[in-house]
């Protein structure tokens, strides 16, 4: 049987659902939309207090360094964690309507993307006030962020497609995001601490590469290595195609899993 939703309507639905979810989420909290910014702002404030005030020895550079690492990492960990259980939370709906299951992780990814846009804007304005002058190079953040989006989407959809079969996988997702936090050089400078042989391997991790590029762009005004960026984007794009293939293949297995 064919899906009732054609492509155009499917994307229209994803868009409307994202808008509605954002609206709904904001209405749950007293300060609604402000929380999107307040939360990362609190993170930054904590770093400032710990590293800038208590551990006085660190320079202001280090705080900027942390911000450029932590904020993109938060985007990654949020999206992957939220999306991994998205099909599980959609079970009620998928048992009443025949809907492509890709819908569920896509909505989560889109929702987090909208919030991340504002968070990045906040991050950049804080860094600006800290003395990092915006330059034309800052526009290079856009392609780097797009590569990161491809990476996030592929992992989010792969996890989302497997978690319903093995709900215990959710524990692994948590461990995995933790691992990624250490493997992406958020609290240390990989270029400084890693031996050259490991460095190549280290920057195969698209998140580590993206964070490194954000730092170069924002703190040094340096453009990213376009070759590296292209290769990573192609790799992540292929992974995304595999992820979409998987979730489509299992499309009609998910409603059954609920009954197990």
């Amino acid at each position: 049987m064919q899906h009732k939703l054609n492509n155009l309507r499917f994307w229209q639905l994803v868009k409307v659902k994202i808008q509605m979810n954002l609206k709904s989420e904001a209405s749950k909290h007293q300060l609604n939309y402000i929380w999107w910014l307040l939360e990362p702002a609190l993170f930054i404030a904590i770093y400032y207090v710990i590293f800038g005030v208590f551990l006085n020895a660190r320079s202001e550079n280090f705080i900027a360094f942390l911000i450029c690492g932590k904020i993109p990492f938060l985007w990654f960990s949020r999206s992957v964690t939220n999306a991994s259980s998205s099909i599980m939370t959609g079970t009620g709906l998928m048992n009443q309507i025949d809907i492509p299951k890709l819908f569920f992780p896509l909505v989560v990814i889109g929702q987090d993307l909208v919030k991340t846009f504002f968070v990045f804007m906040l991050m950049l304005s804080i860094l600006w006030t800290m003395g990092y002058q915006p330059s034309l190079a800052w526009f290079a953040i856009i392609p780097v962020a797009l590569m990161q989006l491809l990476f996030i989407s592929s992992l989010a959809i792969i996890f989302a497609s497997f978690v319903p079969f093995l709900p215990d996988l959710r524990f692994i997702v948590q461990t995995f995001t933790m691992l990624m936090m250490f493997a992406s050089g958020i609290f240390y400078n990989p270029s400084q601490f890693l031996i050259p042989e490991h460095k190549v391997l280290f920057f195969f991790n698209p998140l580590a590469a993206a964070i490194d590029m954000y730092r170069d762009i924002i703190m040094e005004g340096l453009l990213p290595n376009w070759n590296q960026l292209t290769i990573l984007a192609i790799g992540c794009g292929l992974a995304l195609i595999v992820a979409i293939f998987l979730i489509r293949k299992f499309d009609h297995n998910y409603p059954r899993l609920v009954l197990q």
Binding site: H3, K4, G92, Q96, I99, H252, Q260
Partner: protein, 234 residues
């Protein structure tokens, strides 16, 4: 009877559910076995059987939610939908926004969803509550909203499950009136019930299902009598 155009054709359909019993151990449950019948355009087909006979599995197959393990289902129509949506509401959003989402989830465009809103509001009798978050709704109000959306967004084949409640008594009467109106019109309806009387009243043909197997397919009148005799005897 004139030559009938087929909407949905089921051929030797079988569905087996696995349920997890322990560490990688599963038990199997055969929900449907070797089920074959056709749904013709414009007819009202009754599906009758006792609880646990596989009716809800059958509805999920017809609406495309489940795929059969064996056999095949061929559908020659676009929209097959359940008469009432029970879950999937976002309780933080207003009835209006939920109605838009639901209509779009049923496969309709955004424009069509917006266009149908006044009718949905009118039919659901929600009044000012339409703009209130669904979390403030009673279960009856939710049921009315779900029913109104799926009724007013036209489907090629409508799946009606009489075991699904649709709110308070006065609304139920109205709901039944709409269903009967649909049934008497060109709408193709699959009507699932365990009451023989209802099936006799509204359906031309019927399928008798027992323990996941089709006992008989035939004219509703004769089939229901046989079913009732069998049920009494059993």
């Amino acid at each position: 009877m004139p030559v009938q155009e087929t909407c949905i054709r089921l051929e030797n359909v079988g569905v087996t559910f696995k349920s997890r019993k322990g560490f990688f151990r599963y038990s199997k449950h055969r929900a449907l076995n070797n089920v074959s019948f056709e749904v013709y355009r414009g007819e009202t087909l009754g599906v009758i059987g006792r609880n646990g006979c596989g009716k809800s599995t059958l509805l999920k197959l017809l609406s495309g939610i489940l795929k059969p393990d064996e056999g095949s289902i061929k559908s020659y129509v676009k929209h097959v939908s359940l008469q009432s949506l029970q879950t999937g509401f976002d309780s933080q959003l207003s009835g209006r926004n939920n109605a838009i989402l639901m209509a779009m989830l049923l496969g309709h465009s955004k424009d069509a969803a917006y266009k149908a809103l006044p009718q949905i509001l009118n039919f659901s009798e929600l009044g000012n509550s339409f703009e209130e978050p669904v979390k403030t709704y009673s279960s009856g109000m939710r049921a009315r909203l779900g029913f109104s959306v799926s009724m007013l967004m036209r489907a090629d084949v409508l799946l009606v499950d009489e075991t699904l409640g649709v709110g308070d008594k006065s609304f139920r009467i109205k709901a039944e009136a709409v269903i009967s109106e649909r049934i008497s019109s060109e709408q193709t309806v699959v009507f699932v019930s365990h009451s023989g009387e209802q099936v006799k009243r509204v359906c031309q043909r019927a399928v008798w299902l027992d323990q996941g197997e089709v006992i008989k397919v035939g004219m509703a009148e004769d089939l229901v009598d046989e079913y009732e005799q069998y049920s009494l005897g059993a």
